[in-house]
């Protein structure tokens, strides 16, 4: 087997610029977890269905298992570790997940939070149909999704009540 070359990539990770050597075949999620040691992002299926590995790539939710780290060169990513405004604080959606018991085992939660954050960034006050569509690509085996929907409604209602609900 031929020697595999490594290449230098630079990615902005949760607001910090990171430069590392990577093999071209390492997936973005393995890079995040094993190289950056940001283990909040999880691996569930490695074929793009379960959504546990969701991150924001230049602001959009993507499956980090379905792209190579090298493809993210020059881009900006946000993982679950980057959602809170400051150390020791929770974002609104993180807080709402705690308040509404929107998680149990916590394994799908980081990806689910990313999907919800991406939704709220685009639609500040989503209705239930929009929420279900937005998390439809993230599988959860614990909650039956009900309390996740409740949490998003709660998070987006605090500042101004949602007129559609």
């Amino acid at each position: 087997m031929a020697q595999i070359n490594s290449y230098t990539i630079t990615i902005e990770v949760n607001g910090q610029s990171v430069t590392k050597m990577v093999e071209p075949r390492i997936s973005l999620v393995d890079f995040i977890r094993e190289e950056l040691r940001l283990t909040g992002t999880h691996v569930g299926c490695e074929h793009g269905i379960c959504g546990a590995c969701s991150i924001l790539l230049n602001g959009d939710p993507v499956r980090s298992c379905c792209m190579f780290a090298i493809q993210a060169n020059g881009m900006r990513i946000t993982t679950v570790e980057g959602l809170a405004p400051e150390r020791g604080q929770l974002s609104k959606i993180q807080d709402a997940f705690c308040e509404k018991h929107a998680l149990q085992c916590g394994f799908c939660t980081p990806g689910m939070l990313i999907a919800c954050q991406a939704l709220i960034n685009k639609i500040p006050q989503p209705n239930e149909t929009q929420i279900r569509a937005a998390i439809g690509g993230n599988l959860c085996r614990c909650t039956g999704y009900q309390q996740i929907v409740d949490a998003v409604l709660f998070a987006t209602k605090i500042s101004s009540p949602n007129p559609e609900q």
Binding site: M1, E23, R25, I26, R33, E34, R37, L38, T39, G40, T41, H42, V43, G44, C45, E46, H47, I49, C50, A52, T79, V80, E81, L83, A84, L90, Q94, F97, C98, E99, K100, H101, L103, Q104, C105, G106, F107, C108, T109, P110, L113, E128, I131, R132, A133, I135, G136, G137, N138, L139, C140, R141, C142, T143, G144, Y145, Q146, Q147, I148, V149
Partner: protein, 807 residues
């Protein structure tokens, strides 16, 4: 949405039954969970597996030369070596010749069975190397269909066992033949529960490390399994106290299946042999194919006998469970339903024929409910068929047969007492919440608009407080009657409280449970109470969170330990205040004399005396404040009678489901319009947790009813190894669900709580199937197997009256 209007639920509790943020959530929402796959140790190596492409074969030769030559490869392990160095995993029933090893040798018994393990410096190199390994196989005959596996002359999955029937017992509880003969009517029917499972989003992950100097094997694994460290030690031929399982690992969902014994034995063996930390994380295909976590796969033949007025008098049930190629505890999944074999109904006599059959398929593992959900589906199907036969409403028929609230404790024919309940009230609440008259109107409107629409009803039991009474029932050589749980509670010198539990959690919020319970007893702020998961060398005995048992058992153990501490504090106060403890009142921050409130002593003073002032302690009192409580499961401690009667689980929660759905007749696609679940699990310690599990259980049941199936080709090839073939319900398939709470306290537990970890799942498949068949009845069609996929429904519509059973 959940509704609660039970008056006695809002009883005297300070912390129990209140909304409280789960303690565990904070670490998960910031990405700081501690899952097994997150463990990274210096020098750690990784494992990849070579799996058999054949369902039945003999290994002729394994050539690993090219793999070993690859830079970064550390070793290649075959079954030939491993099988000689370890003890086999044995079945839970008396069939010692049916042995399982982590790597097969020399016989392959299912497609996907592990053959070779490759260890390398990275997972990628290990996978590269696995592809270079050449295995030469000689194909053998195989058997895939469980009924064919029972026929004489068929291929034997384990030749040495001389049969594929690993367990076979006929129970008769009462004069069944006589009752059936005397009934006005009998019906016979067949239903099939498909092979599905809980399929957690986290696959199984394990890291092992062995140190020669300490002779300790450290294990970090995503496990939910009773007696896991003991079984691991036995297989590895180690003393039990050489195995240290770290129970502070967060488990990313389990719902029964995260047993991982074979995975951990393999990785532990490698860690010990190589003296290096080894990590193995199943990829999704390994998890689905060779992870040995598929669930019950059951054919039921049932006879029900009943009268013209709807009274169901007797039932005969034959269950054949296709357990796959090997057996751990899985045949016992036919045993647990013995404790609720007649459902919530007053059926006077029951015969039950339980058969566990080996086939050349992936082995089963324990799944949420431990076999009860399939049995509930079989019973509920019969209730609907009787109603249809008598042209009676399904609701009226159920009410005619439900055990009444004044009949508890109720002894069922198989020897189990149901502790308490008010089944009709829970059904009525669900019907009321669903506005059943409006629901009928909606159904009829949908039908007029050209849809096939149906209402489904189910009323099902959730046995809880899991003990292991099915072990001696199904294996007389196993006399296990102890099924305890423990907790240790400590008040430190600073007055803060730490509780220690001896098992891992997989989403059940045990830290929240334990801290709430201790807060309730000691009247301290639950947010200040820390709960830790010890490792197995520090742990008190635990039987892990199986069988919906932790609210009852861990909650009871935590309460027991806290009460001992409270007694100790009262004794110190009594000594200081020169009073009898019975004259003293315990409150949040002090203990005082009820005849003179100024005669008091503060909490902090009491704590300081206990820790530092031996001269102020009553004679013979141990210093410090630390108590353990080990609690045997209530009603446990008894062996079954020789005629197969047994007290199975102690507590019995109850759920009623009402669902309205429609079917697009052109595609067979199902849309759920309304879903209501009435639920009674006694006193809820953490209502948010109970509701969460119930929502999740309903969604899981929806998957089992409509979507999920591990499929095998007639040639024994596994066909559903990805999430594009094995379909899990998403937020767009699972509807909004309304839960209506009811509270009938259990007389057997500390606070009146019952278990609820399997809630929802035990009744939703039956209710959804009931609704589909109500819809199909309008065109004289029906389906008697799960999952009722769009394709299955479409076929039923085309055939009008499908009686086919899919494989």
């Amino acid at each position: 949405m959940s509704q609660s209007d039970t008056p006695n639920e809002k009883q005297q509790f300070t912390y129990i039954g209140k909304h409280r943020r789960a303690v565990e959530h904070r670490r998960f929402v910031v990405g700081a969970g501690n899952f097994a796959g997150d463990i990274q140790l210096p020098g750690m190596c990784h494992v990849a597996i070579v799996a058999s492409p054949y369902p039945s074969a003999q290994i002729i030769k394994i050539d690993a030369q090219a793999a070993l030559a690859l830079p970064g490869v550390v070793t290649v392990l075959t079954g030939e070596e491993l099988c000689q160095q370890i003890e086999p995993i044995l079945p839970g029933v008396d069939a010692p010749s049916v042995q399982r090893f982590p790597l097969a040798y020399p016989i392959i018994r299912y497609s996907g069975e592990w053959v070779v393990a490759v260890v390398a410096q990275s997972r990628a190199i290990a996978e590269d190397a696995a592809e270079l390994i050449q295995v030469q196989y000689a194909e053998l005959p195989f058997v895939i269909d469980p009924e064919k596996a029972l026929q004489t002359g068929t291929h034997l999955v384990h030749q040495i066992a001389k049969t594929n029937l690993i367990f076979d017992r006929q129970f008769v509880w009462g004069p069944v033949d006589q009752d059936l003969a005397n009934c006005a009517h009998t019906i016979n029917y067949r239903v099939r529960w498909a092979r599905s499972s809980t399929v957690p989003i986290e696959t199984f992950a394990v890291v092992c490390d062995w140190q020669d100097a300490t002779q300790i094997l450290d294990v970090w694994a995503s496990i939910q399994m009773p007696k896991f460290p003991d079984q691991l030690a036995k297989a590895l031929r180690l003393p039990n106290n050489s195995v240290r399982v770290h129970f502070d690992i967060d488990v990313g969902g389990s719902y029964g299946v995260k047993r991982g014994l074979k995975h951990t034995i393999l990785v532990a063996y490698l860690a010990k042999k190589l003296h290096r930390p080894i990590r193995f994380i199943e990829d999704r295909l390994e998890n689905m194919r060779g992870g040995d976590m598929q669930g019950p796969d059951r054919i039921f033949e049932v006879t029900m006998g009943f009268e013209n007025d709807g009274e169901i008098r007797s039932m005969k049930m034959h269950a054949i469970d296709d357990i796959g190629a090997y057996a751990g505890r899985t045949p016992l999944q036919l045993g647990k339903p013995v404790g609720a074999i007649c459902g919530p109904y007053r059926i006077q006599s029951v015969a039950y024929h339980a058969q566990a059959v080996l086939t050349n398929k992936t082995p089963q593992e324990a799944v949420r409910g431990f076999g009860q959900a399939p049995t509930n589906y079989a019973i509920e199907t019969g209730i609907d068929l009787v109603a249809r036969f008598l042209k009676m409403s399904r609701i009226d028929l159920r009410k005619r047969n439900l055990i009444a609230n004044n009949e508890f404790p109720y002894l069922i024919p198989s020897g189990t007492h149901y502790d308490s309940g008010d089944y009709a009230a829970v059904l009525d609440k669900a019907l009321k919440s669903a506005s059943i008259e409006d629901l009928h109107q909606q159904r009829d409107d949908l039908r007029k608009s050209g849809e096939l629409a149906g209402i489904g009803i189910s009323t099902c039991l959730e046995p809880s407080g899991g003990n292991s009474a099915f072990e001696p029932l199904f294996n007389p050589k196993n006399e296990t009657t102890t099924w305890m749980e423990s907790c240790l509670v400590r008040i430190d010198l600073g007055g803060t409280i730490t509780a220690i539990m001896g098992t891992s959690s997989s989403g059940q919020a045990h830290e929240t449970l334990v801290s709430t319970v201790i807060a309730e007893i000691l009247l301290q702020d639950p947010e200040t109470i820390r709960v830790i998961h010890s490792d197995s060398l520090n742990a008190l005995p635990s039987n892990s969170p199986v069988g919906s048992r932790m609210a009852i058992m861990l909650g009871g153990a935590a309460a027991g330990a806290a009460k001992k501490l409270k007694q100790q504090l009262l004794a110190i106060a009594a000594y200081q205040l020169q009073k009898n403890p019975n004259d003293l009142v315990y409150s949040a921050n002090r203990i005082y004399d009820h005849t003179n409130q100024n005669n008091q002593i503060s909490w902090s003073t009491l704590v300081e005396i206990a820790h530092r002032k031996f001269h102020l302690l009553p004679a013979n009192m141990e210093p410090g404040l630390q108590e353990k409580f080990v609690w045997e499961v209530p009603t446990g401690g008894q062996l079954p009678s020789t005629d197969g009667k047994v007290q199975m689980y102690p507590c019995h929660s109850f759920e009623s489901h009402v669902v309205l759905l429609s079917i697009d007749p052109k595609t067979g696609k199902v849309k759920i319009h309304r879903y209501v679940c009435g639920h009674d699990c006694g006193v809820m310690i953490s209502p948010d947790v109970v509701h969460g599990m119930t929502y999740g259980g309903i969604a899981h049941g929806l998957g089992a009813a409509l979507m999920e199936k591990f499929a095998f080709s007639p040639e024994g090839q596994f066909l559903s190894g990805t999430f594009m073939d094995y379909l899990l319900p998403s937020a767009t398939e699972v509807p909004g669900i309304t839960i209506v709470d009811h509270c009938t306290p259990s007389p057997l537990t500390e606070f009146g709580q019952k278990g609820s970890g399997e809630a929802g799942y035990l009744g939703s498949p039956a209710a959804i199937a009931s609704a589909i068949n109500d819809a199909l009845a309008t065109i004289q069609a029906s389906i008697n197997y799960l999952p009722m996929t769009p394709n299955a429904i479409w076929n039923a519509i085309q055939d009008k009256n499908s009686t086919k059973i899919s494989n």
